[in-house]
């Protein structure tokens, strides 16, 4: 049992190493956003002819627009505009494309926002969920692996500590403090007015 869990801890750590480092380094930039104030994004706007078929549903139209205008990024859920048109968004870390399609589906207004490195890393950190293209599905799978690994590191780490040490008083104290504090904070958020 010990060998299996030690290898699980080790190999899981090596496989998700860069992903975990990326999340904690970019997370640090996010919690200290005031230290790394982002620069204003560069905005470029343009018009394009579209002539999209009228019988497409919103999701199909979003795919068509992305393909027709050659826009990279993850497809985000479409928004219906009051005049009957559609707004689509395609996002990759550092760049967002917003496309407003007229109600007759003949024209598109494209807005491209290019962000600085702070926002690029911020968006990389916040990228989640399945769908929007094969690349983003792969990202979703890796993110699931990272999430599972966090739980695996905690559980196997406690087991490995228990097996590797004889004097355990300090360890029990740290463990109890950690869990008591987390559960206490959850209780505070649950019961506080």
């Amino acid at each position: 049992m010990y060998t299996i869990l030690r290898k699980t801890h080790l190999y899981a750590g090596l496989v998700v190493l860069l992903f975990v480092l990326m999340y904690f380094v970019t997370g640090y930039l996010i919690i200290h956003a005031d230290w790394f104030s982002p620069t204003e994004p560069t905005v470029v706007e343009q018009e394009a002819a579209l002539n999209a078929p009228a019988d497409m549903d919103a999701e199909a139209l979003s795919r068509y627009v992305q393909h027709h205008l050659d826009l990279p990024g993850k497809r985000l859920p479409p928004t219906r505009l009051k005049d009957g048109g559609w707004r689509f968004q395609y996002q990759r870390p550092g760049t967002v494309y917003r496309v407003e399609v007229t109600a007759d589906r003949n024209r598109a207004h494209i807005t491209r926002e290019t962000m600085g490195w702070q926002w690029t890393l911020n968006r990389l950190h916040h990228l989640h969920g399945y769908g929007g293209g094969a690349l983003y599905t792969l990202w979703g799978i890796l993110l699931d692996l990272v999430g599972l690994s966090m739980i695996v590191f905690a559980v196997t780490g406690i087991y490995l500590w228990y097996k590797l040490t004889r004097k355990r008083r300090l360890g029990w104290i740290l463990l109890a403090l950690s869990w008591a504090f987390t559960l206490g904070t959850m209780g505070y958020l649950w019961f506080a007015p």
Binding site: L10, V20, T120, H128, D144, G147, S149, I151, W179, W190
Partner: protein, 206 residues
């Protein structure tokens, strides 16, 4: 004077102890990170929504300086609540009411301040446990109105550094495991290559 191999062994032992005990300190936060990450990646009806909505009101005398953000903070503090007043929900209506939402992990308040009556009407949405777990994910020490959560912000800071240290020290400790060196190297290099290629591809061509 200590011999070189002894010094290396001492260093390894110290790093192992820090790796082990640091891991114990942040073990509960790692579980929070793990569950919340899976929840972010798989949003579903079970983890969203409210467990209950309660309405209440209270008499309150306020000095309306005309600044909506400042007024919302005054109301929050006077009611003994904490959280972020959401700027995009702030509005005034023709009946001299000021509306805003206040959010924090676990709860959201829809607030109507009846300025003419000196009364506040609150719709309190008590969210599910999942909302608290998501809310604790990377929560800093900037939750307005709560001194207690400053401690959680410190925990976030400590956990971040421990995880970065643990990731790097884990690689260091692995290099002493002769039997697992080959498999580990193959896994590490493979995973590093794929992950780095994915990051770059996503940012440059995604």
């Amino acid at each position: 004077m200590k011999q070189p191999f002894r010094r290396q062994s001492d260093l390894r032992s110290w790093i192992l102890q820090l790796h082990l005990y640091g891991g114990l300190i942040c073990s509960s936060y790692l579980v929070i990170y793990g569950i919340s990450t899976l929840d972010f990646n798989h949003p579903n009806a079970l983890t969203r929504g409210n467990r209950a909505t309660v309405t209440w009101d209270r008499a309150l005398t306020l000095s309306d300086a005309g600044d909506d953000a400042r007024l919302a903070e005054q109301v929050r503090d006077a009611l003994g609540l904490f959280g972020w007043p959401l700027s995009w929900t702030m509005r005034r209506d023709d009946d001299n009411n000021f509306h805003f939402d206040l959010a924090r992990p676990g709860k959201r308040y829809v607030v109507r301040v009846a300025l003419g009556e000196n009364r506040v009407y609150v719709e309190e949405e008590r969210q599910r446990l999942w909302s608290i777990i998501r809310g604790l994910h990377g929560l800093g020490n900037d939750v307005p109105g709560s001194r207690f959560l400053i401690a959680w912000g410190l925990f976030t800071e400590v956990t971040t550094w421990i995880v970065i240290f643990s990731a790097l020290s884990g690689v260091y400790l692995w290099t002493f495991r002769r039997k697992e060196r080959r498999v580990g190297a193959a896994l590490t290099l493979g995973a590093l290559g794929i992950t780095l290629a994915l990051f770059l591809y996503l940012i440059l061509h995604g």
